[in-house]
Amino acid sequence: MITLTPLRTFNVPIQTPCITPENFAGKTLTDIKKLPATEGNRNITLGDLFKIEQDPAETPNITLNGDLSKVKRVGQAMKSGEIVINGNIGMHTGEKMAGGKIIINGNAGGWTGSEMKKGTIEIHGDVGDYLASPYRGNDLGMKGGLITVDGNVGTDVGCYLKGGIIKITGSAGQFLGYHMTDGAIYVEKNCDVRTGACMTGGKIVVGGTLEILPSFTIDSIKPKVKVDNTTNVSGPFYVFLGDLSERGTGKIFANKAANPALAFYEKYL
């Protein structure tokens, strides 16, 4: 196990796409210290930024400690192994991840798990905007894997979702599951407005309050819903179909007890 601790407080953004288990595998401490990183516009090495220590324990492969909220792109495109982050972490963590596991014991920045294909990200804290959403201007959303969040998430979570599962214990911002085509999002608490806008497939399950866009139509009331193989949520739930403006067949499950404002839809059943 390699442990990284910041040598000082970072004032400008640090980009460290080199921190992945594959990159560290088979390298000595001196080699790891020489891996390239950037501090603002200066090209430096990992050894200039972090105190790097080796531990005989096998898992996790990499541990990061301290305030890392300015450190970006940790675990980018990692394929296997495990990273544990004890503290807040910056943007683009686990971007384009294709396997392995990242555990964040703190808050995470925006674009965490962006364009992820496989693997697991566990966040024991809040997350910024654009969790599991693609880069600007493209529609390559998350394709597979699992993201669990213990806290709240920002806006535009799971945009262009094509597969995989996102579970959020707290609340979510607006445009949850924007343009999603497949996969599932489960929010235990409330959602801000415009949930599932332009979705054409997949499912969104909301345990708390939410607002339904005018372009959704009611389909049925169901007593419970299955999010994935391990999670079954009991309701009852209003099931909405949409988004009609995209001729979509995505499903939003809205908790009946938490949403008395949606009761008027029952007359269409």
């Binding site: 953004p13 603002g40 516009n41 300015k70 925006g110 445009f175 407005v193 415009r194 372009s215 959704f216």
Partner: protein, 523 residues
């Protein structure tokens, strides 16, 4: 001696009206014709401000003291090269030639580069990247558009000549002006108001308080029957533009997305389960959708009410999607009401040089784009940068206080003609010329048509143009980097047209037709 200069391009808003007639006396603009009130405020009075910066200033012991241009340039270059992550912000009120040098400077410094559009129409640019845009030039709209929708904008105040020159009140080749109809309606309205007042005075009773209506104007069915151009205004309050419109839809604040989504469903012949959206009954929306589908050439102009309210660029995305859906039934285009006169130019120049229109990060040696990460407001809120250069913008007056506090923790360089809020806070304060008044250059109209701004008067002595100043800063930055043994960019920076700046031309009186003198005609 008076000189009149014709066809001067107005350097104020995105309309770039190019028909101004400016009268100059003793190197001062004394009169202008054709311009709007906003234009006159800047071109006749504003640029002569007492707050003009005439010499470069450097902050020493907390006070700004005048220094030579060379010293200020050296100091600025030193600050920028010492910084690990500088931010270059502004650019929308300067000419494209200066923006070009700005990109080169940002690349040399490895800095973040952003323009004012990140706090105005940046969301429109982002939405265009997501979904594309069906657009047309203002000339097309002037000649052909028979349905004009102003969504969340008030051109009567922000772009005063937009309605007059390009949309409802202009005589196009195929569509006429609605000015006479508007004047008739205005007279009828004022007559009605006078009658009401008089009857109130005679009866000596208070008129019943009218409940606030959410939509006004003639019923939309009449819109279809009305001949000529039609104007629909959608806004959260009744503006002057709304007064001039044929139909005004007053929606609840932050409900643009829902209303457009409902309109899209109606255009696609989908049934809706709800009775009202954003405070508007569905039947009314259906009539509006019918009016949109039955026009020959429609256009949606949207403003900051859409880009800066809840939903930001998703609002624009859905509005573009509506225009796309409408194109299945008729011809429909959509266009942003760009604010500053060359903010479109900033997007175009940045995109031409780097591939991205704004929110660019050069710290990795190549351009990276991500609004939300590299945009000035987000970057400063997180306190990521360690030096700032502001050119032709005043974030001091417009940015949130937290962001200004973060900006003030590090050195600040400003380039502005006037001692505005941000110049007062600067550590190195450069004077600048008013572009479009004191030097010429290229600016892009809101429909991305480039026009040449004219030089009308001479600038005060010793003040450099933005282009020249940035070129000298860039040369100094390269010299410092060479001393440090760091690699620098290749090639010498050349001004786009060093000799182009011409003296103002006097307007020639129209030549009188020559008449043959009597007695000589036979010879």
């Amino acid at each position: 001696m008076n000189k009149t200069i014709n066809n001067v391009v107005c350097p104020i808003c995105g309309c770039l009206c190019d028909d101004l007639e400016v009268t100059v006396e003793n190197n001062e603009i004394i009169k202008m014709k054709n311009g709007c009130a906003v234009c006159e405020a800047k071109m006749v009075h504003g640029y002569k401000s007492d707050e003009r910066i005439l010499k470069p200033l450097i902050r020493k012991d907390g006070k700004l003291v005048p220094v030579s241009m060379d010293e200020a340039i050296k100091k600025a270059a030193q600050i920028l090269t010492d910084a690990k992550y500088p931010l270059l912000f502004g650019w929308s009120s300067t000419v494209s030639e200066a923006q070009r040098i700005g990109v080169e400077l940002a690349e040399e410094l490895g800095s973040a580069l952003d323009n004012c559009c990140s706090v105005c129409h940046g969301p429109s640019v982002m939405a265009t990247q997501e979904i594309g845009i069906p657009a047309a030039t203002l000339g097309q709209i002037r000649h052909r558009a028979d349905l004009i929708v102003y969504w969340a904008c008030n051109p009567w105040a922000s772009h005063p000549r937009h309605v007059e020159r390009y949309t409802a009140f202009t005589d196009g080749r195929f569509e006429g002006s609605e000015w006479k109809n508007y004047m008739q309606r205005l007279r009828a309205d004022s007559g009605r108001k006078k009658m009401e007042m008089a009857s109130k005075r005679i009866a000596r009773v208070e008129p019943p308080i009218k409940p606030q209506v959410c939509f006004t104007g003639p019923p939309p069915q009449m819109l279809e029957r009305k001949s000529g151009r039609k104007v629909i205004v959608v806004d959260v309050r009744k503006t002057m533009t709304a007064e001039a419109a044929d139909y005004f839809l007053q929606i609840e604040p932050n409900r643009d997305y829902e209303v457009i989504e409902a309109l899209r469903c109606l255009v696609l012949d989908q049934e809706l389960d709800v009775d009202k959206v954003g405070g508007i009954p569905i039947d009314t929306l259906r009539d509006v959708a019918d009016a949109m589908m039955s026009c020959g050439f429609g256009v949606i102009y949207f403003g900051l009410g859409m880009t800066q309210s809840l939903g930001r660029f998703r609002n624009i995305e859905i509005a573009i999607a509506l225009a796309r859906d409408l194109n299945r039934k008729t011809k429909f285009v959509i266009s942003p009401m760009r604010g500053h006169f060359n903010v479109t130019g900033a997007n175009n120049v940045f995109a031409w040089q780097t591939g991205y229109p704004f929110a660019i990060d050069f710290s990795q040696g190549y351009p990276q784009f991500n609004p939300g990460e590299n945009t000035a407001v987000d970057l400063l809120r997180r306190g990521d940068n360690d030096a700032t250069l502001i050119i032709s913008a005043d974030p001091g007056a417009h940015f949130p206080s937290v962001i200004m506090q973060n900006m003030m923790k590090h050195p600040l360089i400003t380039i502005n003609p006037d001692m505005n809020a941000i110049s007062r806070l600067g550590d190195v304060v450069f004077p600048a010329q008013w572009c479009g008044i004191e030097y010429s250059g290229t600016a892009y109209r809101m429909d991305t048509v480039p026009l040449t701004l004219k030089k009308v008067v001479e600038a005060p002595p010793g003040i450099l143009t933005d282009e020249e100043l940035l070129t000298r800063i860039l040369k100094e930055v390269r010299a410092i980097k060479v001393k440090r043994g760091e690699p620098v960019g290749q090639g010498e920076v050349k001004l786009a047209h060093p000799d182009k700046v011409k003296a103002p031309q006097a307007c020639k009186a129209p030549a009188k037709p020559k008449r043959a003198k009597k007695g000589k005609g036979a010879a």
